[in-house]
Amino acid sequence: MSSAQTQSVRTGRVTRSFIYLFLLVSALFYLLPFFIMLLNSVKPLGEITGGNMMAMPEVFTLEAWKAAWSTAQVGVEPTGLRPYFWNSIKMVVPAVFISTILGALNGYVLTKWRFKYDTILFGLMLFSCFIPFQIVLIPMARILGIVGLSGSTYGLILVHVVYGVGFSTLYFRNYYAAFPTELVRAAQIDGAGFFQIFYRILLPSSGPIIVVCVIWQFTNIWNDFLFGASFASGSGAPMTVALNNLVQSSTGVKEYNVHFAGAILAALPTLLVYIVAGRYFVRGLMAGSVKG
Protein backbone atom coordinates (compact mmCIF):
# COMPACT_ATOMS: atom_id res chain seq x y z
CA MET A 1 0.00 0.00 0.00
CA SER A 2 2.95 2.32 0.42
CA SER A 3 3.79 2.11 -3.27
CA ALA A 4 3.85 5.41 -5.09
CA GLN A 5 0.80 6.80 -6.78
CA THR A 6 1.01 6.16 -10.45
CA GLN A 7 -2.51 6.09 -11.73
CA SER A 8 -3.52 8.60 -14.28
CA VAL A 9 -7.25 8.98 -13.92
CA ARG A 10 -8.14 12.55 -14.87
CA THR A 11 -10.83 14.21 -12.82
CA GLY A 12 -12.56 17.52 -13.33
CA ARG A 13 -12.74 20.25 -10.74
CA VAL A 14 -16.30 19.45 -9.69
CA THR A 15 -15.58 15.74 -9.33
CA ARG A 16 -12.47 16.51 -7.35
CA SER A 17 -14.31 18.79 -4.95
CA PHE A 18 -16.91 16.11 -4.47
CA ILE A 19 -14.22 13.52 -3.76
CA TYR A 20 -12.56 15.74 -1.16
CA LEU A 21 -15.90 16.52 0.43
CA PHE A 22 -16.78 12.83 0.65
CA LEU A 23 -13.41 11.95 2.13
CA LEU A 24 -13.61 14.72 4.71
CA VAL A 25 -17.16 13.90 5.78
CA SER A 26 -16.11 10.27 6.13
CA ALA A 27 -13.15 11.29 8.26
CA LEU A 28 -15.58 13.19 10.46
CA PHE A 29 -17.81 10.12 10.74
CA TYR A 30 -14.89 8.00 11.96
CA LEU A 31 -13.48 10.62 14.30
CA LEU A 32 -16.65 11.97 15.86
CA PRO A 33 -17.67 9.20 18.28
CA PHE A 34 -14.22 8.95 19.77
CA PHE A 35 -13.74 12.68 19.88
CA ILE A 36 -17.06 13.20 21.64
CA MET A 37 -16.13 10.52 24.13
CA LEU A 38 -12.85 12.27 24.85
CA LEU A 39 -14.53 15.66 25.10
CA ASN A 40 -17.15 14.48 27.57
CA SER A 41 -14.74 12.51 29.71
CA VAL A 42 -13.25 15.80 30.95
CA LYS A 43 -16.60 17.40 31.80
CA PRO A 44 -18.33 17.23 35.15
CA LEU A 45 -21.43 15.00 35.00
CA GLY A 46 -23.85 17.91 35.24
CA GLU A 47 -22.56 19.41 32.03
CA ILE A 48 -23.24 16.17 30.18
CA THR A 49 -26.73 15.36 31.39
CA GLY A 50 -27.91 18.94 31.20
CA GLY A 51 -25.86 20.14 28.27
CA ASN A 52 -24.80 19.61 24.72
CA MET A 53 -22.51 16.74 23.86
CA MET A 54 -20.71 18.82 21.26
CA ALA A 55 -20.06 21.75 23.57
CA MET A 56 -16.56 22.39 24.86
CA PRO A 57 -16.23 21.74 28.59
CA GLU A 58 -16.94 24.78 30.72
CA VAL A 59 -15.11 23.24 33.63
CA PHE A 60 -12.17 21.04 32.74
CA THR A 61 -11.77 18.19 35.20
CA LEU A 62 -9.92 14.90 35.33
CA GLU A 63 -12.13 13.61 38.15
CA ALA A 64 -13.86 11.14 35.81
CA TRP A 65 -10.53 9.71 34.73
CA LYS A 66 -9.42 9.29 38.35
CA ALA A 67 -12.72 7.66 39.22
CA ALA A 68 -12.60 5.29 36.25
CA TRP A 69 -9.07 4.27 37.08
CA SER A 70 -9.23 3.82 40.82
CA THR A 71 -12.55 4.40 42.57
CA ALA A 72 -15.50 3.58 40.33
CA GLN A 73 -17.81 0.73 41.20
CA VAL A 74 -16.96 -2.22 38.95
CA GLY A 75 -19.17 -5.16 39.78
CA VAL A 76 -19.41 -5.10 43.57
CA GLU A 77 -16.08 -3.52 44.50
CA PRO A 78 -15.26 0.19 44.20
CA THR A 79 -11.83 -0.55 42.77
CA GLY A 80 -11.96 1.30 39.48
CA LEU A 81 -10.61 -0.37 36.39
CA ARG A 82 -7.02 -0.49 37.58
CA PRO A 83 -6.88 -4.11 38.80
CA TYR A 84 -8.58 -5.28 35.61
CA PHE A 85 -6.16 -3.33 33.49
CA TRP A 86 -3.36 -5.29 35.14
CA ASN A 87 -5.31 -8.52 34.69
CA SER A 88 -5.34 -7.82 30.98
CA ILE A 89 -1.63 -7.04 30.91
CA LYS A 90 -0.86 -10.24 32.83
CA MET A 91 -2.96 -12.16 30.35
CA VAL A 92 -1.81 -10.48 27.14
CA VAL A 93 1.96 -10.51 27.62
CA PRO A 94 2.48 -14.26 28.14
CA ALA A 95 -0.25 -15.22 25.66
CA VAL A 96 1.27 -13.08 22.91
CA PHE A 97 4.77 -14.29 23.72
CA ILE A 98 3.89 -17.98 23.68
CA SER A 99 1.64 -17.90 20.63
CA THR A 100 4.23 -15.94 18.63
CA ILE A 101 7.05 -18.36 19.46
CA LEU A 102 4.87 -21.35 18.62
CA GLY A 103 3.75 -19.69 15.40
CA ALA A 104 7.32 -18.97 14.35
CA LEU A 105 8.41 -22.56 14.96
CA ASN A 106 5.33 -23.95 13.22
CA GLY A 107 5.82 -21.70 10.23
CA TYR A 108 9.45 -22.79 10.03
CA VAL A 109 8.55 -26.48 10.12
CA LEU A 110 5.68 -26.12 7.65
CA THR A 111 7.79 -24.38 5.02
CA LYS A 112 11.34 -25.67 5.44
CA TRP A 113 10.83 -29.20 6.78
CA ARG A 114 7.88 -30.21 4.75
CA PHE A 115 6.44 -33.67 5.14
CA LYS A 116 3.50 -35.62 3.88
CA TYR A 117 0.09 -34.08 4.67
CA ASP A 118 1.62 -30.92 6.09
CA THR A 119 -0.80 -28.78 4.06
CA ILE A 120 -3.75 -30.62 5.56
CA LEU A 121 -2.40 -30.06 9.07
CA PHE A 122 -1.95 -26.39 8.28
CA GLY A 123 -5.47 -26.25 6.88
CA LEU A 124 -6.78 -27.67 10.15
CA MET A 125 -4.90 -25.02 12.12
CA LEU A 126 -6.05 -22.30 9.75
CA PHE A 127 -9.72 -23.19 9.98
CA SER A 128 -9.45 -23.01 13.76
CA CYS A 129 -8.94 -19.23 13.43
CA PHE A 130 -12.38 -18.76 11.97
CA ILE A 131 -14.63 -21.00 14.03
CA PRO A 132 -17.37 -19.30 16.00
CA PHE A 133 -16.02 -19.63 19.51
CA GLN A 134 -19.47 -20.54 20.81
CA ILE A 135 -18.71 -24.05 19.59
CA VAL A 136 -15.91 -24.48 22.16
CA LEU A 137 -17.36 -22.51 25.09
CA ILE A 138 -19.08 -25.38 26.87
CA PRO A 139 -16.22 -27.92 26.86
CA MET A 140 -13.68 -25.19 27.59
CA ALA A 141 -15.62 -24.03 30.63
CA ARG A 142 -15.75 -27.66 31.83
CA ILE A 143 -12.04 -28.28 31.30
CA LEU A 144 -10.98 -25.04 32.97
CA GLY A 145 -13.24 -25.93 35.87
CA ILE A 146 -11.79 -29.44 36.17
CA VAL A 147 -8.14 -28.30 36.14
CA GLY A 148 -8.97 -25.42 38.48
CA LEU A 149 -8.16 -22.59 36.11
CA SER A 150 -11.59 -21.04 35.69
CA GLY A 151 -11.75 -17.42 36.75
CA SER A 152 -7.98 -17.10 36.59
CA THR A 153 -5.61 -15.28 34.31
CA TYR A 154 -3.76 -18.53 33.61
CA GLY A 155 -6.89 -20.06 32.18
CA LEU A 156 -7.30 -17.13 29.82
CA ILE A 157 -3.64 -17.34 28.78
CA LEU A 158 -4.19 -20.97 27.84
CA VAL A 159 -7.35 -20.13 25.91
CA HIS A 160 -5.74 -17.31 23.97
CA VAL A 161 -2.66 -19.33 23.12
CA VAL A 162 -4.80 -22.19 21.85
CA TYR A 163 -7.03 -20.02 19.67
CA GLY A 164 -4.25 -17.63 18.66
CA VAL A 165 -1.72 -20.14 17.41
CA GLY A 166 -3.55 -20.63 14.11
CA PHE A 167 -3.10 -17.01 13.11
CA SER A 168 0.51 -16.75 14.26
CA THR A 169 1.31 -19.93 12.31
CA LEU A 170 -0.37 -18.44 9.24
CA TYR A 171 1.76 -15.30 9.44
CA PHE A 172 5.07 -17.07 9.82
CA ARG A 173 4.24 -19.73 7.27
CA ASN A 174 3.46 -17.16 4.60
CA TYR A 175 6.54 -15.16 5.52
CA TYR A 176 8.96 -18.08 5.59
CA ALA A 177 7.54 -19.48 2.34
CA ALA A 178 9.25 -16.57 0.58
CA PHE A 179 12.54 -17.22 2.39
CA PRO A 180 15.07 -19.03 0.12
CA THR A 181 15.08 -22.70 1.03
CA GLU A 182 18.54 -23.07 -0.56
CA LEU A 183 20.04 -21.16 2.37
CA VAL A 184 18.49 -23.66 4.75
CA ARG A 185 19.73 -26.62 2.73
CA ALA A 186 23.23 -25.15 2.49
CA ALA A 187 23.38 -24.68 6.24
CA GLN A 188 22.15 -28.23 6.68
CA ILE A 189 24.98 -29.57 4.52
CA ASP A 190 27.40 -27.56 6.63
CA GLY A 191 26.12 -29.51 9.58
CA ALA A 192 23.78 -26.99 11.19
CA GLY A 193 20.92 -28.52 13.15
CA PHE A 194 17.21 -27.70 13.21
CA PHE A 195 17.33 -25.09 15.95
CA GLN A 196 20.64 -23.66 14.82
CA ILE A 197 19.23 -22.93 11.38
CA PHE A 198 16.15 -21.36 12.89
CA TYR A 199 18.08 -19.28 15.36
CA ARG A 200 20.95 -18.20 13.11
CA ILE A 201 19.35 -17.93 9.69
CA LEU A 202 15.60 -17.41 9.86
CA LEU A 203 15.13 -15.52 13.09
CA PRO A 204 17.50 -12.65 12.28
CA SER A 205 15.43 -11.76 9.23
CA SER A 206 12.03 -12.25 10.88
CA GLY A 207 11.79 -8.79 12.45
CA PRO A 208 8.87 -7.43 10.40
CA ILE A 209 6.69 -10.52 10.71
CA ILE A 210 7.33 -10.74 14.43
CA VAL A 211 6.09 -7.17 14.78
CA VAL A 212 3.03 -7.94 12.66
CA CYS A 213 2.24 -11.07 14.64
CA VAL A 214 2.77 -9.46 18.04
CA ILE A 215 0.53 -6.51 17.13
CA TRP A 216 -2.22 -8.74 15.79
CA GLN A 217 -2.20 -11.06 18.78
CA PHE A 218 -1.96 -8.18 21.20
CA THR A 219 -4.92 -6.36 19.66
CA ASN A 220 -7.06 -9.46 19.42
CA ILE A 221 -6.35 -10.74 22.89
CA TRP A 222 -6.65 -7.35 24.55
CA ASN A 223 -9.97 -6.72 22.82
CA ASP A 224 -11.44 -10.16 23.48
CA PHE A 225 -14.68 -10.10 25.39
CA LEU A 226 -16.35 -13.48 24.87
CA PHE A 227 -13.68 -15.63 26.53
CA GLY A 228 -13.14 -13.12 29.31
CA ALA A 229 -16.84 -12.93 30.07
CA SER A 230 -17.25 -16.72 29.92
CA PHE A 231 -14.25 -17.87 31.91
CA ALA A 232 -13.20 -14.99 34.18
CA SER A 233 -16.04 -12.72 35.10
CA GLY A 234 -15.08 -12.04 38.73
CA SER A 235 -11.98 -10.37 40.09
CA GLY A 236 -9.90 -12.09 37.43
CA ALA A 237 -11.79 -10.40 34.61
CA PRO A 238 -9.92 -8.65 31.82
CA MET A 239 -10.36 -4.97 30.99
CA THR A 240 -13.11 -5.37 28.37
CA VAL A 241 -15.33 -7.33 30.76
CA ALA A 242 -14.72 -4.85 33.56
CA LEU A 243 -15.55 -1.95 31.26
CA ASN A 244 -18.78 -3.62 30.26
CA ASN A 245 -19.63 -4.17 33.93
CA LEU A 246 -18.88 -0.56 34.69
CA VAL A 247 -21.05 0.73 31.87
CA GLN A 248 -23.96 -1.69 32.22
CA SER A 249 -24.39 -2.33 35.90
CA SER A 250 -24.19 1.12 37.41
CA THR A 251 -27.28 1.42 39.50
CA GLY A 252 -28.55 4.88 40.26
CA VAL A 253 -27.00 7.79 38.40
CA LYS A 254 -25.27 6.89 35.16
CA GLU A 255 -21.88 8.51 35.32
CA TYR A 256 -21.32 8.95 31.64
CA ASN A 257 -18.07 10.83 32.01
CA VAL A 258 -16.64 7.94 34.04
CA HIS A 259 -17.83 5.45 31.42
CA PHE A 260 -16.10 7.40 28.67
CA ALA A 261 -12.87 7.74 30.59
CA GLY A 262 -13.02 3.99 31.24
CA ALA A 263 -13.68 3.22 27.58
CA ILE A 264 -10.72 5.31 26.52
CA LEU A 265 -8.55 3.64 29.14
CA ALA A 266 -9.58 0.27 27.70
CA ALA A 267 -8.82 1.48 24.18
CA LEU A 268 -5.54 3.16 25.03
CA PRO A 269 -3.07 0.25 24.72
CA THR A 270 -4.29 -0.95 21.34
CA LEU A 271 -4.71 2.59 20.09
CA LEU A 272 -1.17 3.37 21.13
CA VAL A 273 0.10 0.34 19.26
CA TYR A 274 -1.89 1.43 16.23
CA ILE A 275 -0.48 4.95 16.31
CA VAL A 276 3.10 3.80 16.83
CA ALA A 277 3.07 0.88 14.39
CA GLY A 278 0.03 1.38 12.16
CA ARG A 279 1.85 0.15 9.09
CA TYR A 280 2.43 -3.24 10.64
CA PHE A 281 -1.10 -3.32 11.96
CA VAL A 282 -2.44 -2.93 8.42
CA ARG A 283 -0.06 -5.59 7.14
CA GLY A 284 -1.31 -7.98 9.78
CA LEU A 285 -4.92 -7.30 8.86
CA MET A 286 -4.22 -7.90 5.21
CA ALA A 287 -2.20 -11.05 5.80
CA GLY A 288 -5.01 -12.36 7.95
CA SER A 289 -7.59 -11.81 5.25
CA VAL A 290 -5.95 -12.14 1.87
CA LYS A 291 -3.96 -15.25 2.43
CA GLY A 292 -1.43 -14.28 -0.19
Binding site: S8, P33, N52, I138, S230, M286, S289, V290
Partner: protein, 297 residues
Amino acid sequence: MIRQGEVDFRTRLQNWIPKVVLSPSLAMVLVFVYGFIFFTIYLSFTDSRILPSFGLVGMENYSKLWRLSHWTTSLTNLGIFAFFYITVCTALGLALAIFLDQKIRGEGVLRPIYLYPMALSFIVTGTAWKWFLDPGIGLEHTMHLWGWTSFKFDWIKNRDFAIYTIVLAAVWQTSGFVMAMFLAGLRGIDNEIMKAAQIDGASNWNLYRRIVIPLLRPAFLSAFVILAHLAIKSYDLVIALTGGGPGRATELPATFMYSYTFTRNQMGIGASSAVIMLMTIAAIMVPYLYAELKEKS
Protein backbone atom coordinates in the same frame (compact mmCIF):
# COMPACT_ATOMS: atom_id res chain seq x y z
CA MET B 1 31.18 -48.26 11.24
CA ILE B 2 30.58 -46.47 14.54
CA ARG B 3 30.79 -43.13 12.79
CA GLN B 4 28.29 -44.27 10.21
CA GLY B 5 25.86 -45.20 12.95
CA GLU B 6 26.25 -41.81 14.59
CA VAL B 7 25.45 -40.03 11.39
CA ASP B 8 22.39 -42.17 10.92
CA PHE B 9 21.20 -41.40 14.40
CA ARG B 10 21.76 -37.71 13.88
CA THR B 11 19.93 -37.68 10.59
CA ARG B 12 17.08 -39.62 12.05
CA LEU B 13 16.92 -37.22 14.99
CA GLN B 14 16.93 -34.28 12.61
CA ASN B 15 14.05 -35.88 10.79
CA TRP B 16 12.05 -36.18 13.94
CA ILE B 17 12.71 -32.79 15.47
CA PRO B 18 10.43 -30.84 13.09
CA LYS B 19 7.52 -33.10 13.84
CA VAL B 20 8.21 -32.97 17.57
CA VAL B 21 8.31 -29.17 17.42
CA LEU B 22 5.02 -29.01 15.57
CA SER B 23 3.24 -31.53 17.76
CA PRO B 24 2.37 -29.39 20.82
CA SER B 25 0.51 -26.86 18.68
CA LEU B 26 -1.08 -29.58 16.67
CA ALA B 27 -2.16 -31.46 19.77
CA MET B 28 -3.62 -28.27 21.22
CA VAL B 29 -5.59 -27.57 18.07
CA LEU B 30 -6.77 -31.16 17.74
CA VAL B 31 -7.98 -31.32 21.34
CA PHE B 32 -9.17 -27.77 22.02
CA VAL B 33 -10.65 -27.10 18.62
CA TYR B 34 -11.64 -30.32 16.93
CA GLY B 35 -12.09 -32.40 20.07
CA PHE B 36 -14.24 -29.65 21.55
CA ILE B 37 -16.24 -29.31 18.35
CA PHE B 38 -17.09 -33.02 18.50
CA PHE B 39 -17.91 -32.74 22.18
CA THR B 40 -20.31 -29.86 21.50
CA ILE B 41 -21.87 -31.74 18.58
CA TYR B 42 -22.32 -34.71 20.91
CA LEU B 43 -23.87 -32.49 23.59
CA SER B 44 -26.34 -31.18 21.04
CA PHE B 45 -27.82 -34.68 20.89
CA THR B 46 -28.12 -35.04 24.67
CA ASP B 47 -30.49 -33.88 27.38
CA SER B 48 -27.86 -31.57 28.95
CA ARG B 49 -29.38 -28.78 30.99
CA ILE B 50 -27.28 -26.90 33.55
CA LEU B 51 -24.38 -29.36 33.23
CA PRO B 52 -23.33 -31.69 30.43
CA SER B 53 -25.21 -34.95 30.64
CA PHE B 54 -24.94 -37.93 28.38
CA GLY B 55 -28.49 -39.18 27.88
CA LEU B 56 -29.00 -39.19 24.14
CA VAL B 57 -32.22 -37.65 22.88
CA GLY B 58 -31.64 -37.76 19.13
CA MET B 59 -32.67 -34.69 17.20
CA GLU B 60 -34.93 -33.33 19.93
CA ASN B 61 -32.79 -30.25 20.66
CA TYR B 62 -32.72 -29.31 17.03
CA SER B 63 -36.45 -29.65 16.55
CA LYS B 64 -37.02 -27.66 19.75
CA LEU B 65 -34.54 -25.05 18.57
CA TRP B 66 -36.32 -24.46 15.28
CA ARG B 67 -39.66 -24.14 17.05
CA LEU B 68 -38.32 -21.41 19.34
CA SER B 69 -39.39 -17.98 18.17
CA HIS B 70 -36.39 -16.63 20.05
CA TRP B 71 -34.10 -18.57 17.68
CA THR B 72 -35.93 -17.71 14.47
CA THR B 73 -35.96 -14.07 15.54
CA SER B 74 -32.20 -14.11 16.04
CA LEU B 75 -31.74 -15.72 12.62
CA THR B 76 -33.93 -13.08 10.98
CA ASN B 77 -31.97 -10.38 12.80
CA LEU B 78 -28.73 -11.94 11.66
CA GLY B 79 -30.00 -11.96 8.08
CA ILE B 80 -30.88 -8.26 8.21
CA PHE B 81 -27.70 -7.38 10.05
CA ALA B 82 -25.40 -9.40 7.79
CA PHE B 83 -27.01 -8.12 4.59
CA PHE B 84 -26.74 -4.43 5.47
CA TYR B 85 -23.43 -4.79 7.26
CA ILE B 86 -21.76 -6.50 4.31
CA THR B 87 -23.35 -4.27 1.66
CA VAL B 88 -22.70 -0.96 3.39
CA CYS B 89 -19.17 -1.92 4.46
CA THR B 90 -18.30 -3.02 0.94
CA ALA B 91 -19.85 0.02 -0.73
CA LEU B 92 -18.30 2.50 1.70
CA GLY B 93 -14.94 0.72 1.69
CA LEU B 94 -14.88 0.65 -2.11
CA ALA B 95 -15.86 4.32 -2.42
CA LEU B 96 -13.23 5.41 0.08
CA ALA B 97 -10.56 3.30 -1.61
CA ILE B 98 -11.34 4.56 -5.13
CA PHE B 99 -11.46 8.17 -3.96
CA LEU B 100 -8.28 7.85 -1.93
CA ASP B 101 -6.60 6.44 -5.01
CA GLN B 102 -6.98 9.73 -6.94
CA LYS B 103 -3.70 11.32 -5.82
CA ILE B 104 -5.35 12.83 -2.81
CA ARG B 105 -3.45 15.34 -0.76
CA GLY B 106 -3.32 14.18 2.84
CA GLU B 107 -3.92 10.52 2.05
CA GLY B 108 -1.41 9.65 4.73
CA VAL B 109 -3.56 11.42 7.30
CA LEU B 110 -6.95 10.19 6.10
CA ARG B 111 -6.12 6.50 5.78
CA PRO B 112 -5.24 5.96 9.45
CA ILE B 113 -8.36 7.90 10.47
CA TYR B 114 -10.58 5.52 8.50
CA LEU B 115 -8.86 2.50 9.93
CA TYR B 116 -8.30 3.27 13.60
CA PRO B 117 -11.67 1.92 14.87
CA MET B 118 -10.39 -1.51 13.86
CA ALA B 119 -7.91 -1.30 16.74
CA LEU B 120 -10.68 -0.77 19.30
CA SER B 121 -12.62 -3.33 21.24
CA PHE B 122 -16.28 -3.74 20.26
CA ILE B 123 -17.08 -2.97 23.89
CA VAL B 124 -15.48 0.45 23.51
CA THR B 125 -17.29 1.01 20.21
CA GLY B 126 -20.55 -0.05 21.83
CA THR B 127 -20.05 2.29 24.78
CA ALA B 128 -19.43 5.24 22.49
CA TRP B 129 -22.31 4.59 20.11
CA LYS B 130 -24.80 3.59 22.77
CA TRP B 131 -24.61 7.04 24.18
CA PHE B 132 -24.34 8.84 20.85
CA LEU B 133 -27.55 7.12 19.72
CA ASP B 134 -29.43 7.60 22.99
CA PRO B 135 -32.19 10.08 22.11
CA GLY B 136 -32.29 11.56 25.61
CA ILE B 137 -28.67 12.64 25.67
CA GLY B 138 -26.94 11.95 22.36
CA LEU B 139 -27.48 13.14 18.82
CA GLU B 140 -31.22 13.80 19.05
CA HIS B 141 -30.82 15.80 22.24
CA THR B 142 -28.00 17.84 20.71
CA MET B 143 -30.03 18.61 17.60
CA HIS B 144 -32.89 19.78 19.81
CA LEU B 145 -30.53 22.06 21.71
CA TRP B 146 -29.31 23.46 18.42
CA GLY B 147 -32.86 24.40 17.56
CA TRP B 148 -33.90 21.55 15.28
CA THR B 149 -36.65 20.46 17.62
CA SER B 150 -38.44 18.14 15.20
CA PHE B 151 -35.29 16.04 14.71
CA LYS B 152 -35.94 12.44 15.70
CA PHE B 153 -33.38 9.67 15.91
CA ASP B 154 -34.47 7.03 18.39
CA TRP B 155 -33.59 3.85 16.48
CA ILE B 156 -31.84 2.33 19.46
CA LYS B 157 -35.10 2.42 21.46
CA ASN B 158 -37.23 1.29 18.54
CA ARG B 159 -37.89 -2.41 18.02
CA ASP B 160 -38.10 -2.06 14.27
CA PHE B 161 -34.92 -0.06 13.86
CA ALA B 162 -32.61 -1.13 16.69
CA ILE B 163 -30.89 -3.72 14.50
CA TYR B 164 -29.75 -0.94 12.18
CA THR B 165 -27.90 0.74 15.03
CA ILE B 166 -25.84 -2.42 15.32
CA VAL B 167 -25.19 -2.18 11.58
CA LEU B 168 -24.14 1.46 11.97
CA ALA B 169 -21.66 0.79 14.77
CA ALA B 170 -20.28 -2.33 13.08
CA VAL B 171 -19.81 -0.46 9.80
CA TRP B 172 -18.04 2.30 11.69
CA GLN B 173 -15.67 -0.25 13.15
CA THR B 174 -14.79 -2.36 10.11
CA SER B 175 -15.36 -0.37 6.92
CA GLY B 176 -11.86 1.11 7.14
CA PHE B 177 -10.50 -2.39 6.97
CA VAL B 178 -12.49 -3.08 3.80
CA MET B 179 -11.15 0.19 2.43
CA ALA B 180 -7.60 -1.03 3.07
CA MET B 181 -8.31 -4.31 1.25
CA PHE B 182 -9.70 -2.54 -1.80
CA LEU B 183 -6.91 0.01 -1.79
CA ALA B 184 -4.34 -2.77 -1.86
CA GLY B 185 -6.25 -4.31 -4.76
CA LEU B 186 -6.36 -1.01 -6.64
CA ARG B 187 -2.66 -0.43 -6.18
CA GLY B 188 -2.01 -3.86 -7.61
CA ILE B 189 -3.77 -3.15 -10.90
CA ASP B 190 -1.50 -2.81 -13.89
CA ASN B 191 -1.32 0.82 -14.94
CA GLU B 192 -1.08 -0.07 -18.61
CA ILE B 193 -4.60 -1.46 -18.58
CA MET B 194 -5.92 1.84 -17.24
CA LYS B 195 -3.98 3.83 -19.81
CA ALA B 196 -5.14 1.67 -22.70
CA ALA B 197 -8.76 2.13 -21.67
CA GLN B 198 -8.32 5.89 -21.42
CA ILE B 199 -6.72 6.09 -24.85
CA ASP B 200 -9.76 4.21 -26.13
CA GLY B 201 -11.79 7.08 -24.77
CA ALA B 202 -13.46 5.38 -21.82
CA SER B 203 -14.99 7.78 -19.31
CA ASN B 204 -13.92 7.52 -15.69
CA TRP B 205 -17.24 5.99 -14.81
CA ASN B 206 -16.92 3.31 -17.49
CA LEU B 207 -13.26 2.77 -16.67
CA TYR B 208 -14.15 1.85 -13.11
CA ARG B 209 -17.38 0.03 -13.89
CA ARG B 210 -16.10 -2.06 -16.77
CA ILE B 211 -12.42 -2.56 -15.99
CA VAL B 212 -11.29 -1.67 -12.48
CA ILE B 213 -14.13 -3.12 -10.41
CA PRO B 214 -14.14 -6.45 -12.28
CA LEU B 215 -10.39 -6.64 -11.68
CA LEU B 216 -11.03 -6.27 -7.95
CA ARG B 217 -12.92 -9.55 -7.77
CA PRO B 218 -10.44 -11.22 -5.40
CA ALA B 219 -10.72 -8.28 -3.00
CA PHE B 220 -14.52 -8.49 -3.15
CA LEU B 221 -14.39 -12.18 -2.35
CA SER B 222 -12.02 -11.70 0.58
CA ALA B 223 -14.08 -8.83 1.92
CA PHE B 224 -17.26 -10.84 1.68
CA VAL B 225 -15.79 -13.87 3.43
CA ILE B 226 -14.24 -11.83 6.24
CA LEU B 227 -17.35 -9.70 6.78
CA ALA B 228 -19.73 -12.67 6.65
CA HIS B 229 -17.78 -14.57 9.26
CA LEU B 230 -17.51 -11.48 11.45
CA ALA B 231 -21.26 -10.97 11.16
CA ILE B 232 -22.05 -14.51 12.25
CA LYS B 233 -19.65 -14.24 15.18
CA SER B 234 -20.93 -10.82 16.32
CA TYR B 235 -21.47 -10.91 20.03
CA ASP B 236 -19.55 -8.21 21.90
CA LEU B 237 -21.05 -5.31 20.01
CA VAL B 238 -24.63 -6.41 20.67
CA ILE B 239 -23.89 -6.91 24.36
CA ALA B 240 -22.31 -3.48 24.67
CA LEU B 241 -24.76 -1.57 22.50
CA THR B 242 -28.21 -2.99 23.15
CA GLY B 243 -27.86 -6.18 25.18
CA GLY B 244 -30.12 -7.86 22.62
CA GLY B 245 -33.00 -5.46 23.17
CA PRO B 246 -35.31 -3.69 23.06
CA GLY B 247 -37.22 -6.89 23.56
CA ARG B 248 -35.44 -9.32 21.26
CA ALA B 249 -34.95 -6.80 18.49
CA THR B 250 -31.18 -7.22 18.31
CA GLU B 251 -30.81 -10.79 19.53
CA LEU B 252 -28.33 -12.69 17.30
CA PRO B 253 -27.41 -16.40 17.23
CA ALA B 254 -24.25 -15.69 19.25
CA THR B 255 -26.21 -14.00 22.05
CA PHE B 256 -28.91 -16.68 21.83
CA MET B 257 -26.32 -19.42 22.31
CA TYR B 258 -24.82 -17.69 25.31
CA SER B 259 -28.06 -17.01 27.10
CA TYR B 260 -29.53 -20.47 26.49
CA THR B 261 -26.36 -22.21 27.60
CA PHE B 262 -25.25 -20.17 30.56
CA THR B 263 -28.25 -18.29 31.90
CA ARG B 264 -31.27 -20.36 30.92
CA ASN B 265 -29.55 -23.69 31.58
CA GLN B 266 -30.66 -25.28 28.32
CA MET B 267 -27.21 -26.53 27.38
CA GLY B 268 -28.47 -29.04 24.82
CA ILE B 269 -30.28 -26.34 22.89
CA GLY B 270 -27.35 -23.94 23.29
CA ALA B 271 -25.01 -26.59 21.88
CA SER B 272 -27.27 -27.24 18.90
CA SER B 273 -27.38 -23.52 18.09
CA ALA B 274 -23.56 -23.39 18.27
CA VAL B 275 -23.39 -26.33 15.84
CA ILE B 276 -25.58 -24.46 13.38
CA MET B 277 -23.38 -21.38 13.68
CA LEU B 278 -20.31 -23.50 13.00
CA MET B 279 -21.89 -25.15 9.97
CA THR B 280 -22.84 -21.78 8.51
CA ILE B 281 -19.33 -20.42 8.92
CA ALA B 282 -17.78 -23.63 7.61
CA ALA B 283 -19.95 -23.42 4.51
CA ILE B 284 -18.39 -20.03 3.78
CA MET B 285 -14.84 -20.51 5.04
CA VAL B 286 -13.94 -24.04 3.98
CA PRO B 287 -14.28 -23.55 0.21
CA TYR B 288 -12.48 -20.21 0.49
CA LEU B 289 -9.56 -21.57 2.53
CA TYR B 290 -9.39 -24.66 0.34
CA ALA B 291 -9.07 -22.53 -2.79
CA GLU B 292 -6.48 -20.29 -1.13
CA LEU B 293 -4.35 -23.21 0.04
CA LYS B 294 -4.58 -25.00 -3.28
CA GLU B 295 -3.53 -21.91 -5.14
CA LYS B 296 -0.50 -21.58 -2.91
CA SER B 297 0.85 -25.11 -3.18
